[in-house]
């Protein structure tokens, strides 16, 4: 379970202070799919970055399975990101020098998995997202939708406890977006905890709960039936 308590994020640039998050309280239970929505600049991506240990909050707590994670050392955070989280970024964030298979296998190698075993798991994950015919292709040789599916394969290859997705369909056409959302639904059905930032109501509707942010505050929460 992830618990966010009075989370504050303020960017300071000389005399100018920008308050992006103004005291967020949020709980995400295991197996839940939460969509974070809001207009541009509402703080939804910033909230995701604090929850997923990619950034340091100015104040407040992020507690995951009872551990206050922002007090962890850089080494421990790295291990948390490796073993506990999976990430899907808006711009796919694949490594351009690595093939689809290598991109997916890399975090598995970092988990001290043997290369053959890592390649096997990566292949399975890519097959699952429909990219079994693209294993040896570089990201530059894949379409946007294929890149995002490779990115999802990398995130789920080792079944992370929590999958963070930052506008996973923002750069995709409708057809590719539907494929991605179908994958998310499947993962959720299998019990995957998902925290997803999106600005599209249609895709947020697939989540179990929708949290609306505005001006750094949660303005509404709604459970989807």
């Amino acid at each position: 379970m992830i618990e966010v308590k009075n989370l504050v994020k303020t960017y300071v640039n000389g005399p100018i202070e920008t308050h992006v998050l103004r005291g967020i309280d949020l709980k995400v239970t295991d197996g839940e799919w939460v969509a974070i929505m809001g207009r541009s600049g509402a703080g939804k991506s910033t909230l995701l970055y604090q929850m997923s240990l990619l950034d340091e909050p100015t104040d407040g707590l992020v507690v995951i399975d009872g551990r206050e994670v922002h007090t962890l050392s850089e080494q421990e955070k790295m291990r948390f990101r490796l073993y506990t989280f999976g990430y899907v970024f808006q711009d796919y964030a694949l490594l351009p020098d690595l093939t689809a298979l290598e991109n997916v296998a890399l975090p598995l190698l970092m988990e001290a998995m043997e290369p053959a075993q890592a390649a096997g798991k990566a292949k399975t994950a890519l097959e699952r997202v429909g990219l079994s015919h693209r294993l040896g292709n570089l990201p530059s040789e894949l379409s946007g939708g294929e890149q995002q599916r490779a990115s999802i394969a990398r995130a789920i290859a080792e079944r992370p406890a929590i999958l963070f997705a930052d506008e996973p369909t923002a750069n995709l056409d409708r057809e590719s977006s539907n494929v991605i959302m179908k994958l998310f639904k499947e993962l959720h059905r299998e019990g995957q905890t998902i925290v997803m930032v999106t600005h599209e109501d249609e895709y947020a509707a697939a989540a179990g709960r929708v949290v609306h942010l505005d001006d750094g505050r949660i303005v509404s929460e709604k459970a989807n039936v």
């Binding site: 970055y49 990619l54 080494q75 790295m78 490796l82 964030a93 490594l95 970092m110 001290a112």
Partner: protein, 416 residues
């Protein structure tokens, strides 16, 4: 954390980055490393080679592997004939050149000068040689560039070192006034002890200024014997068969009693004082120049890796974001630097030992001071490779570390 896992992942990333990097960029960096390696080895090697060239000239043209010379209290080698006969019986002896030496003077313009004109006269060291034996020992005949070498029956003929001739000489120095208008066939006046004799210049040598032959006057030994009035030699230069140990040979001669009549020295013992210091000085100059090259290479690698890491900052952020350790990322850049250094040095080794050393050995670089060869002993080369690799690793690590330490999210989003 320095762990095998970080090294393994770093290697995995490095191999893939190198495999998919621009071939032009990779070739250019390797070329820089190759030039740096050659700069490190060749500059010092040539400078040391100049001194080696000088010392080699002494060995080949004058001293041989072992030199026998008069005792400090004598002007000649006593019992020369017996000593020479004994030496010639020893199996490890390849060749012996026995010589007479005497100080005298040579005058060029004695036939043409007017009464008050200053004599064009210089002090000389005359060397009496057996022309055939001496040529077999040092190949002196091939060094004659003007005129000819001694022929059988030559009498009143001399061969001059180039520093005695005005047009080849560096100029006047104490005791040496170069002779003007002297060519093969020119008559000159030789004065030795109380004897004066008119002799003809048969030939002039072409050797570097530092050659031991550069200031000598050669004459067939039979005539020198007449002039100095003795038969005992002043020098016996011994060339040993390949593989023979000069120190063991010297000791053999000393044990045989020759030490009682003459001084016996190996080549290293007999070369002029200061040559070793000159050699060390040249090596130091070479090292100083090479150090500059090493710093330039380090800066080049630093810039290349820094730009590489900077342009890949977003991907470094992504790597950290998905849980790849900073150390593994740093190792990937260290491996890339290592690749450039090892390939550059490897190519450098091929060029060095496959071409430069044998080619310059066979065709020494002709310099006014000596004929320089390229000296690149394997241990010195290995040390320079280690130095290059170490410098390159540091130059690759520092920029990678600088980028890896930046905030993960800032890197991913490209924020400063």
């Amino acid at each position: 954390m320095f762990s095998l896992l970080n090294i393994r992942v770093g290697f995995y990333l490095a191999v893939r980055q190198l495999r998919r990097s621009s071939r032009w960029t990779t070739s250019l960096i390797i070329f820089v490393m190759l030039l740096t390696f050659l700069n490190l080895v060749v500059v010092t090697g040539i400078l040391v080679g100049i001194v080696e060239g000088i010392t080699d000239q002494f060995r080949i043209q004058q001293v041989g592997d072992v030199m026998i010379s008069p005792l400090a209290t004598k002007d000649f080698i006593e019992n020369s004939a017996q000593v020479l006969s004994f030496i010639k019986t020893l199996p490890s002896v390849e060749r012996v050149a026995a010589r007479y030496t005497a100080g005298g003077s040579l005058e060029a313009n004695y036939l043409t000068r007017s009464g008050d004109e200053k004599p064009n006269k210089t002090g000389i060291s005359l060397v009496g040689i057996d022309p055939a034996e001496e040529n077999g020992f040092s190949g002196i005949a091939s060094l004659v560039s003007e005129g000819r070498y001694f022929e059988a029956g030559d009498y009143d003929a001399v061969i001059l070192g180039p520093q005695l001739i005005d047009r080849y000489s560096f100029g006047e120095m104490p005791g040496l006034v170069p002779l003007k208008e002297v060519y093969p066939g020119t008559k000159v006046r030789l004065t030795l002890g109380g004897n004066t004799r008119e002799v003809v210049v048969a030939g002039i040598l072409e050797v570097p200024a530092n050659s031991p032959l550069a200031m000598l006057v050669f004459m067939p030994e039979a005539e020198v014997r007449e002039l100095i009035g003795r038969t005992d030699y002043n020098q016996m230069a011994i060339l040993l068969a390949e593989g023979a140990d000069p120190v063991a040979f010297r000791d053999l001669l000393l044990r045989s009693g020759i030490g009682a009549h003459a001084k016996v020295q190996t080549f290293e013992e007999s070369i002029p004082n200061g040559i070793a210091e000159v050699k060390d000085t040249f090596a130091m100059i070479g090292n100083a120049i090479s150090s500059v090259g090493l710093v330039v290479a380090a800066i080049t690698i630093f810039i290349v890796i820094f730009i590489n890491a900077l342009t890949r900052r977003k991907f470094i952020g992504i790597l950290k974001g998905i849980g790849i350790s900073g150390e593994a990322i740093e190792f990937s850049y260290i491996f890339q630097s290592l690749f450039y250094a090892v390939i550059g040095a490897g190519l450098g080794l091929l060029i060095l030992y496959g071409f430069l050393v044998p080619y310059i050995g066979a065709n020494p670089i002709e310099l006014p001071i000596s004929n320089a060869i390229l000296v690149a002993p394997a241990p010195d080369t290995a040390f320079r490779i280690a130095l290059l690799v170490f410098t390159t690793i540091i130059a690759g690590y520092i920029p990678a570390r600088m980028i890896v330490r930046k905030n993960t999210l800032d890197s991913i989003l490209g924020r400063n």
